[in-house]
């Protein structure tokens, strides 16, 4: 029975990981684009994205999940059939906005002198950002980013409210039916999965921080 439960939990955790990985891979670059838009010299663009970030950060992620899934009904369409896709969209938008705010803070914390040093050396704006600013920003935002990434791992369990997404918490609930097991045991098992994975992420971030501590900003 133990191995059967473990197998079900592991399958659920794969779904959790899938949602986590997709969100991270897409939200990291999209967040940077949103950060650029929020800092744009063109005022309307800046404002549009500031409002978007306000709305996304100002409403619960669970509500956003429902809106993405059932929102099409507003336009006379049926709800999204693929609830995993809906969850991915909601998570990417939500996390991209949080990442954007972190990026923005990091980019703004780099002294003007670094840009000007690049400028007087004849570098282009792209070169200044990619060769001079970016690595310093990454170093500065690593700690807040690790917070956000760890939160994302745990937030993925919100996806099971949409139904049809058997991530690890949903899997734990399902497994009690199969084996007539008190709910608490598989849930504790799910907790161990989270702990181990987040432990690994913590080590990874510690490693990155160490790797980037060869210089001081």
């Amino acid at each position: 029975m133990f191995w059967g439960v473990l197998e079900q939990l592991a399958l659920g955790f794969l779904v959790t990981l899938e949602l986590f990985a997709i969100t991270l891979v897409l939200a990291l670059p999209i967040g940077l684009l949103i950060a650029f838009c929020m800092m744009s010299k063109f005022r309307p663009l800046r404002w549009v994205f500031k409002v978007i970030v306000w709305v996304v950060r100002g409403t619960p992620l669970m509500l956003q999940l429902f809106i993405v899934c059932y929102g099409p009904a507003l336009f006379g369409l049926t709800a999204m059939r693929d609830s995993f896709l809906a969850a991915c969209i909601a998570f990417v938008i939500n996390y991209a906005c949080y990442f954007a705010v972190i990026y923005k803070g990091g980019i703004e914390s780099i002294s003007k002198g670094q840009y000007e040093a690049g400028q007087v050396l004849g570098m282009t704006r792209t070169q200044i950002f990619s060769r001079i600013v970016l690595l310093q920003v990454i170093r500065r935002i690593l700690a807040p980013m690790s917070n956000e990434v760890i939160t994302l791992v745990k937030d993925t369990s919100l996806a099971n409210t949409l139904g049809g997404i058997v991530e690890i918490i949903a899997a734990a609930k399902a497994v009690t039916g199969t084996y007539a097991l008190p709910l608490i045991y598989p849930l504790l098992g799910a907790g161990v999965f989270f702990l181990l994975f987040i432990g690994a992420l913590t080590l990874l971030f510690g490693f990155l921080e160490k790797k980037l501590s060869y210089f001081k900003v």
């Binding site: 002198g113 670094q114 007087v120 004849g122 570098m123 310093q136 060869y214 210089f215």
Partner: protein, 291 residues
């Protein structure tokens, strides 16, 4: 005609007019010291020369050619500004070294990027040449071109490394080649910054209070390096509070007060026999022993 001619530079920030018509000229190989109290517009003038700010009015001629004319109402493109900037170098008060790179890489970075652009241009030229060639020749041509490009790349790399080592020797930091900026003292950082500015061989090298952020015991080494750069083909503009330095090193001194040139001349004239009352007051204040 002088090497550098600045005519009627004006710059306003909002309602605050910082430069109220600055004109001066400078010969090749001369050192110009700009003195004056804080807030007088010295730094803004340097920033305008380096196109970190664009003057509202005025004209700049370098080597007889008009480099900038505010009367041309065209908005300058990024590329155009970048080309203009390369005529000038700037050493900042706060050094502004790139913290993630070694001393060597700090100095080579800009050159390497420029070399890469040059290589990319050559590559495009070659590609066009291939298109024009007869079909059976193309493969052969491509191999030849590849060899040429590799050669160019190697010479570029060698040239940059050699030049950088020379510059490091010149500022006395050869043994710090692979150190990171945080491992250096302020004076050493500023010397690296000087080498970095020199690496692009600017026509005119500007210094914005290069020793103001340094401990007093470190100013000497930086001033010595700047003094050592003085030669017939290096033209320099130094904004400074070090009156002794201005007196001993500059060929020409300008005193700026309230956005205008209040007095200018040789160090003997400005320091020995100032005509304007403002200059006299300023010099009295800067030269008197505070305690």
């Amino acid at each position: 005609m002088a090497f550098l001619e600045v005519c009627g530079y004006r710059k306003k920030f909002g309602e605050n007019e910082v430069l109220k018509g600055i004109s001066f000229s400078l010969e090749k190989g001369e050192v110009l010291a700009i003195i004056g109290s804080s807030g007088g517009g010295k730094t803004t003038l340097l920033r305008c020369l380096n196109f970190l700010e664009i003057p509202d009015e005025g004209e700049l001629r370098l080597g007889g050619e008009t480099l900038f004319d505010a009367a041309e109402k065209l908005r300058l493109s990024d590329t155009r500004i970048r080309e203009k900037r390369l005529h000038f170098g700037l050493v900042f008060q706060q050094f502004n070294l790139f913290p993630q790179y070694t001393v060597f890489r700090n100095i080579t970075l800009a050159q390497t990027l420029l070399a890469k652009q040059e290589l990319a241009r050559k590559k495009r030229e070659f590609a066009a040449a291939r298109k024009g060639a007869p079909k059976e020749r193309r493969k052969e041509l491509k191999a030849e071109q590849k060899k040429i490009l590799a050669e160019i790349r190697d010479t570029q790399k060698e040239r940059i490394a050699q030049k950088t080592d020379e510059l490091l020797a010149r500022v006395g930091l050869s043994e710090k080649r692979n150190a990171y900026p945080y491992e250096l003292s302020g004076g050493q950082q500023q010397r690296v910054a000087i080498a970095r500015a020199l690496a692009l061989s600017p026509d005119i090298l500007c210094f914005d209070e290069p020793t103001s952020a340094l401990d007093p015991e470190l100013t000497g080494e930086v001033l010595k390096v700047i003094k050592g750069l003085k030669s017939s083909d290096s033209t320099m503009i130094v904004v400074t509070h070090e009156m002794e330095f201005a007196k001993n090193v500059a060929d020409h001194v300008i005193f700026i007060a309230d956005g205008r040139i209040e007095e200018e001349g040789t160090p003997e004239e400005v320091f020995g026999n100032p005509k304007s009352e403002k200059t006299q007051a300023f010099l009295r204040k800067s030269l008197e022993e505070p305690f």
